[in-house]
């Protein structure tokens, strides 16, 4: 079979909504794009545990602590589903994680912002998970099979994340004056970074066009961002709070909310590594990885020792069936 035949088979599959599976032929650039996007997504799930982990020991009640733990555990799972999807494209787990640690791979910039008060945990669930869900719902229809399947699993788990966040803020919004102030303050600090999660404007997003053609992405950054604004602008009313954007107004012609300009200088600064917590986040991840090295090695050595024992005494294994 000639190269252009393979290319045509691939293009036909994309055109007719047939998923691409790991062993199917695919253009190398498609594979590279997926590896970059999926591993970046996986890193975001994992690094995303850190700002929330900051509040596990200080959650205001046992109930809130249990919920937060469950939420963070989900995020670890999401990281795993995505790392596994990346592996189907021929990169090892170790390589992928090394690229996070040495700065070659990125993760969502939102996790470079600090969690200063308990209300931040509410704002993260409501806004950050809310924004992530917009993106992930779209990715359930992405053209690469393992990525799409991981997304379906993730989306099933995400809706509780957003609800528990909203629930935290809702409770605060019904509380004392101090609690209301805390609630509004968290919304003020997390709103703009949440909008940045959708990435640069379409005009400044070099990968969007090709990704749309390959159906890796099904909606553009700006389309998703607009959907998010429309959703949150309504929900914030239920909290009796406001979004920190004087330009936010309903546009009856467009049937969408208009909103102000994102501070792109801040966006690029955080992407490039100069956000409030970039160094700390990577240092924490590296630390966890390095401190866990002896456990990984010991578990492997133990498994090999046990295996060599059962290999010499196969009868011990007979009951395994």
């Amino acid at each position: 079979m000639q190269m252009h035949d393979l290319e045509k088979i691939f293009a036909d599959k994309i055109a007719t909504e047939i998923k691409i599976e790991p062993r199917d032929w695919m253009p190398d650039a498609y594979r590279k794009t997926l590896v970059r996007q999926i591993s970046q997504h996986a890193h975001s799930e994992v690094v995303g545990m850190l700002p929330e982990g900051n509040w596990i020991t200080r959650a205001p009640s046992l109930k809130r602590k249990a919920i937060l733990l469950a939420k963070i555990q989900d995020e670890a799972g999401h990281g795993l589903y995505l790392y596994s999807a990346a592996e189907t494209l021929g990169v090892s787990r170790e390589e992928t994680i090394n690229e996070l640690h040495n700065g070659k791979a990125k993760y969502s910039s939102i996790f470079n912002y600090p969690t200063l008060t308990w209300a931040d945990i509410g704002a993260i669930g409501w806004l950050v998970d809310g924004a992530a869900i917009m993106n992930q719902v779209m990715l359930c229809r992405t053209s690469y099979g393992p990525y799409a399947r991981a997304m379906v699993r993730i989306c099933k788990e995400e809706s509780f994340h957003q609800r528990q966040g909203f629930d935290i803020l809702y409770t605060l919004s019904k509380g004392s004056d101090d609690q209301k102030t805390m609630c509004q303050d968290a919304i003020n600090r997390w709103w703009w970074p949440s909008l940045m999660m959708f990435g640069p404007k379409d005009a400044d997003s070099p990968h969007t066009d090709q990704s749309m053609k390959w159906k890796i992405k099904r909606m553009t950054n700006d389309e998703l961002r607009q959907r998010f604004v429309d959703m949150i602008a309504e929900q914030v009313k239920v909290l009796g709070m406001v979004l920190p954007d004087p330009k936010l107004t309903w546009n009856d012609e467009r049937k969408h909310y208009d909103f102000g300009e994102i501070d792109w200088a801040e966006f690029w600064q955080v992407v490039k590594g100069y956000g409030p917590c970039n160094k700390q986040r990577i240092a924490t991840r590296k630390n966890a990885w390095d401190n866990g090295a002896w456990v990984r090695e010991a578990a492997l050595a133990h498994a090999q020792k046990r295996k060599s024992r059962t290999d010499t005494h196969p009868s011990q294994n007979a009951a395994a069936a």
Binding site: D28, K32, A70, V91, S92, K104
Partner: protein, 125 residues
């Protein structure tokens, strides 16, 4: 036989990718490195149903694979039974040969009940 092409070098060329690695992954096999072995996880969601592929994970041995699978794939009562098998033990048909592999089934419409036109008088067949 096309697996080499799968790793083939930048067919569409690289398109601008700031911060991306220069190391060319083409031709490089999925090197084991220091990763724990990879396992495939199959879950039976309820009694009476087949085990179904749920995903994969790394673990040092089968017991750890089952315990980790419990933690990642059944946190919301998705399963009552777990199978794990080391991924390297799975043999798969080649997708590029799917045409010829499944060809024998293509021209045998008479295997389907809809192939047969029955008289209207026949009920419940």
């Amino acid at each position: 036989m096309f697996s080499n092409i799968f790793y083939g070098k930048n067919y569409y060329g690289d398109f601008g990718e700031s911060g991306a690695t220069d190391t060319d992954q083409a031709g490089k096999e999925n090197k084991p490195g220091n990763d724990w072995p990879l396992w495939e996880v199959f879950i039976r969601s309820k009694q009476g149903l087949d085990h179904k592929h749920a995903g994969s994970l790394h673990a040092a041995d089968a017991q750890m694979a089952i315990e980790n699978a419990r933690d990642v794939y059944t946190r919301r009562n998705e399963g009552i039974s777990i199978w794990v098998v080391e991924s390297r033990h799975i043999h798969a048909s080649n997708p590029d040969e799917a045409g010829s592999l499944f060809d024998p089934a293509n021209d045998k419409v008479y295997r389907h009940p809809t192939f047969y036109d029955l008289p209207d008088a026949v009920k419940h067949m």
